[in-house]
């Protein structure tokens, strides 16, 4: 099919040539040139009519009419920049913020995982039936091997566990974030290596050391040398053969920091008691791929049968894990962020709705100024639909302009959000203005244009020509219905604003409460770090000795008040639960309670500022060869020793390090609770074992300083390196960093919703101001008459201000009702604040009314200071 303008040119040429021919023939018959031309024209007919009729044959008429309308609308808008520019800017704010949040939602929640048939990838774990609700528990290697071998519903089941490796480069030890994975790990994910070979089940054989490099690590560490495949690199004192390099962008699991390499689970098969043989040593995460046609529920039932069998066969370790949990990997990853993102998206949609109402008000005001124009067009034969179409096209054009400007705004907003955003949200760094987002903008712009354009257009196109023309000539007041609509729009804006203000107010209240939570320790001037002492090369005694010496040296540094070490560090997202039994309270094997484990060096509680409530803290006597001891926290004492003195009682945690085999330990002290998992989490029962008696991981070094803690970084680093240059120092951070990270999500949410509420408040205020100003302008004559008849200035002032206040109050009331009805949406995001918090509700209403009053006062004052004589003359 040819383009219409090409066809036009073609038709023109055809008509021309045939017409000339006719003319020539006439001339050949002996007619004079002029006569011939006229005769030819006569014989031919009206060329315009011919053109139009031929045009219609090709069916482009509706398109052309649309183009004509577009041109007309564009010209009209171009001629009134004072109207078009503010409208486009307001729309850009609405569409831009919505787009930015949508791009985030799209990147985090909607994009499929970057694996083939990713909807079949499942996150798999086992349910801990000793706890209420959904309580997923990691698996042990023997359990995993059984699940892998005996299921009938999975095409593959892979395991992965976080690990750290130490590699020496340029004389300095570097700690690497790695994953220990099963041989079928990459196969289950469906991604083949870029270079080299995939892992296989053969790589799980004990004694094999193979590594798969991430693309980024291969680039930075090995300069993208292809020859690295097959070579060996030394990590943790072992020679690892590089099996291959994964493609660019491949990552799994989605953690921060991302793993730089993957090693085979053969790493866990070494030693006298390898993890691969300990049922009950639950540390594995699993990812499985469903067979085609199998549902998650079917896989869950299938694996639960295996889990049930294992629970019967191995009650000591598996009794409470008698069923499996299978959920789509994407849902599992984004589950925590889903409600918050939903609320944010809802809030930003409200902003957009408010923008629509705002712009609709502007269009309405502008429309009634143009009512004479419409009436004239209607009078000379324009159909109602033609006028309606023209108005709608105008508003769609405006919203497309707003959309284009909104995209520019969204670019900036996304960048700002990514830098402000807490890093915990997985995949959010993928947020960008991609094709899906652009499509979203287009659709949103069109819908927006129709929404804000439809009401005014419908309203305006209904006005009767004769009346409108009369009104235009001498306005007393414009149509009642039009006013009602305009009032309604302002009320709607105030209602939406109220909802957003309440939401952000609640989140801010909640944030304040979170920040004022006592974490149970003193986070000020506390520096923390870890040292990666290798467990393969250093015995437990020397391991402990290393830390003893290190702490002595750090304590001697100037500016250090005290130094110690412990594990886990609160808010550091590390934890372990260990089962135990209390002396004198026998339970069946597998029924033992389990609580959070802590490890502490002498001085840990003092350095952290955790108060001692009874007994003593750990000292030199709780050494490697000392009596087995344990310290419990207040919550532990309350739960297990209510009404009795726990000091001197004995308990036996299922924790040994080879030197001790699950010794019975004496409770020597009770310390205060700490918020280990975050400020909003309940303080959980916890027991602490002397680090010397349980050297199972590298503890966090904690240093209380007298000045800026970060100033001591390099001194601590060199203290470590002077002891052993092969030990990397990592996770250097202040305790306040951990605390602020723990409040990062609520802070971000409160910030974002606060921004939306601020935008809403400004727009709603402008909407009210605009309506009242318009009203004053429309009613100038009426006001003049009133004043001429003796109304005082204060009467006029009151008349306008009352209208403003009534509208604001109506909006506030409506918004309040909506908020109370929909409080469920936000209550999950609140901490110690109820969604119906009266302080927030009343405060918000007062704020809205004060702002509304201020917005009304300007037009009210303007009306009151009208000169009645001039008002009457000018009209």
């Amino acid at each position: 099919m040819r383009w219409p303008w090409k066809r036009d040119a073609d038709l023109e040429r055809e008509l021309q040539s045939d017409l000339e021919l006719e003319e020539e023939e006439q001339r050949e018959r002996g007619v004079s040139a002029e006569e011939a031309r006229y005769a030819a024209r006569r014989a031919f007919g009206n060329p315009t009519v011919i053109r139009e009729q031929t045009h219609e044959v090709w069916g482009w008429v509706p398109v052309e009419r649309l183009l004509q309308d577009l041109r007309y609308a564009a010209r009209r808008l171009w001629r009134s920049p004072a109207f078009a520019i503010p409208v486009v800017l307001i729309l850009a704010i609405g569409i831009g913020t919505t787009t930015a949040v949508f791009s985030l939602v799209s990147a985090v929640l909607l994009h499929p995982l970057p694996f083939p048939h990713s909807s079949r990838l499942m996150w798999i774990s086992q349910q801990d039936h000793s706890l209420p609700g959904l309580a997923p528990e990691a698996l042990s290697y023997p359990d995993y091997f059984d699940w892998r071998a005996h299921n009938h519903t999975l095409a593959g089941l892979a395991s992965y566990a976080d690990s750290t490796l130490t590699m020496k480069t340029h004389g300095e030890a570097r700690r690497l974030d790695a994953e220990t994975v099963s041989g079928n790990f990459f196969d289950v994910l469906g991604v083949a290596p870029l270079l080299g070979r995939d892992f296989g089940l053969g790589d799980e054989t004990p004694g094999r050391h193979v590594a798969m490099l991430s693309y980024a690590f291969w680039q930075s560490q090995f300069g993208s040398a292809r020859s690295i495949v097959g070579q060996s690199i030394t990590m943790n004192g072992h020679a690892y053969t590089v099996a291959g390099v994964m493609p660019k962008g491949f990552q799994f699991p989605f953690e921060n920091p991302a793993p730089v390499l993957w090693t085979s689970l053969a790493d866990d098969a070494t030693g006298d008691h390898p993890a691969t043989q300990q049922r009950g040593f639950d540390e594995l995460s699993l990812v499985g791929r469903l067979r085609p046609g199998v549902t998650a529920a079917q896989a869950g039932a299938d694996l639960s049968v295996i889990a049930g069998n294992l629970a019967r066969a191995y009650p000591d370790t598996n009794k409470q894990y008698s069923s499996a949990i299978v959920e789509p990997e994407l849902e599992h990853m984004t589950g925590d962020t889903r409600p918050a993102l939903r609320v944010l998206f809802g809030a930003v949609c409200l902003v957009l709705l408010l923008v629509c109402a705002n712009v609709a008000g502007l269009l309405l005001a502008r429309g009634s100024r143009r009512s004479t124009e419409f009436a004239l067009r209607a009078a000379i034969g324009a159909s109602r639909t033609a006028i309606l179409r023209g108005l709608l096209i105008e508003s769609v054009l405006l919203s497309l302009g707003g959309g284009a400007a909104g995209i520019a705004l969204a670019f900036g907003l996304i960048r700002a959000m990514l830098t402000l955003m807490p890093v915990e949200i997985p995949r959010m760094q993928g947020a960008s203005v991609d094709s899906a987002v652009l499509l979203f903008v287009l659709v949103v712009s069109l819908i927006t244009g129709l929404v804000f354009g439809a009401l005014p257009a419908w309203r305006l196109s209904r006005s009767a020509p004769a009346r409108a023309m009369g009104e235009g000539s001498r306005t007393v007041s414009s149509g009642r219905a039009q006013h009602r609509l305009h009032n309604g729009l302002v009320v709607a804006q105030n209602a939406i604003c109220m909802v957003l203000l309440i939401g952000s107010g609640l989140l801010m209240q909640s944030l304040v409460r979170i920040l004022s939570v006592d974490p149970g320790f003193d986070a000020r001037r506390l520096l923390t770090c870890r040292a990666g002492v290798s467990f393969d090369q250093v015995g437990h005694d020397q391991h402990y000795l290393f830390y003893q010496r290190l702490l002595e040296r750090i304590a001697a540094l100037p500016g250090v008040r005290s130094a110690s070490a412990g594990w886990p560090l609160p808010m550091s997202d590390t934890s372990a639960s260990i089962s135990f039994s209390i002396q004198g309270r026998p339970v069946a094997p597998g029924d033992q309670p389990s609580e959070a484990l802590g490890l502490a060096m002498p001085g840990y509680f003092q350095t952290m500022g955790i108060p001692l409530l009874a007994g003593r803290t750990f000292g030199a006597e709780d050494g490697v060869k000392g009596q087995p001891t344990v310290i419990i926290n207040e919550a532990f004492a309350k739960k297990y020793f209510p009404g009795t003195n726990p000091i001197g009682q004995h308990m036996q945690p299922g924790l040994g390090d080879g030197a001790f085999d699950h010794p019975m330990r004496e409770i020597v002290g009770v310390v205060g609770n700490i918020k280990g998992k975050g400020l909003t989490a309940e303080a959980a029962p916890q027991f602490y074992v002397p680090y010397a008696q349980a050297v199972i991981t590298n503890p966090y070094v904690v240093v209380r300083t007298s000045g800026d803690p970060l100033a001591l970084q390099s001194a601590i680093r060199s203290a470590v390196h002077r002891l052993d240059a092969g030990v990397p120092v990592y996770e250097v951070a202040t305790m306040e960093d951990y605390l602020s990270k723990s409040a990062a999500q609520p802070r971000f949410q409160a910030f974002l919703l606060g921004c939306f509420a601020a935008i809403a408040l400004v727009l709603a205020t402008l909407g009210l101001y605009g309506l009242l100003s318009y009203m004053v302008a429309q009613r100038t004559l009426e006001i003049g008459v009133r004043m001429a008849l003796g109304a005082g200035r204060s009467d006029v002032l009151r008349m306008i201000a009352r209208r403003g206040l009534l509208l604001t109050l109506a909006g506030a009331g409506l918004g309040l009702a909506i908020s109370v009805l929909s409080m469920k949406v936000i209550s999950g995001m609140l901490f110690q604040v109820r969604a119906t918090d009266p302080v927030t509700l009343v405060g918000t209403a007062v704020l809205l009314c004060v702002v509304g009053g201020a917005a009304s006062s300007v037009p009210a004052w303007r009306a009151a200071s009208l000169d009645p004589m001039r008002a009457l003359h000018e009209q």
């Binding site: 040539s17 045939d18 011919i50 031929t54 044959v57 090709w58």
Partner: protein, 125 residues
């Protein structure tokens, strides 16, 4: 233009509407022709009875082109040293002509049977 004359013309045009497509297709059966030639030919062969304005041909020609019954190409006329838009019958157009022709025949016969019943009988004898 008086109103009576205008009405007269319109009637003729209406008559043409249904048959103009067929006449064009039939004309093109002789070979490719440009718009002017087609118009002239129809006018001549009907002894100027169908004295239509040539202009009304073009919408019809373009309609036929859109339906694929004729194809168009700019070619130099043999007698004039200029290019004209020549229309030629497509295979589809040929089929269409047969269809329209038979339809027209049926209608003409039907009309004739109503108008001159005796004549038909006498033909049979």
């Amino acid at each position: 233009m008086s109103s009576i004359k205008k009405k007269d013309q319109q009637q003729r045009a209406n008559l043409l509407q249904g048959t103009l497509d067929m006449l064009i297709l039939r004309t093109l059966l002789y070979g490719p022709a440009h718009g002017h030639e087609i118009g002239k030919h129809i006018q001549r062969t009907t002894n100027d009875f169908l004295q239509m304005q040539h202009g009304s041909l073009y919408p019809a020609l373009h309609r036929l082109e859109k339906r694929g019954w004729v194809s168009a190409k700019w070619e130099t006329a043999p007698d004039r040293n200029r290019e004209f838009k020549y229309y030629r019958l497509t295979d589809q157009g040929r089929k269409q002509l047969t269809v329209e022709e038979s339809q027209w025949k049926q209608m003409a016969e039907a009309v004739a049977r109503v108008m001159w019943p005796a004549a038909e009988e006498s033909q049979e004898i």
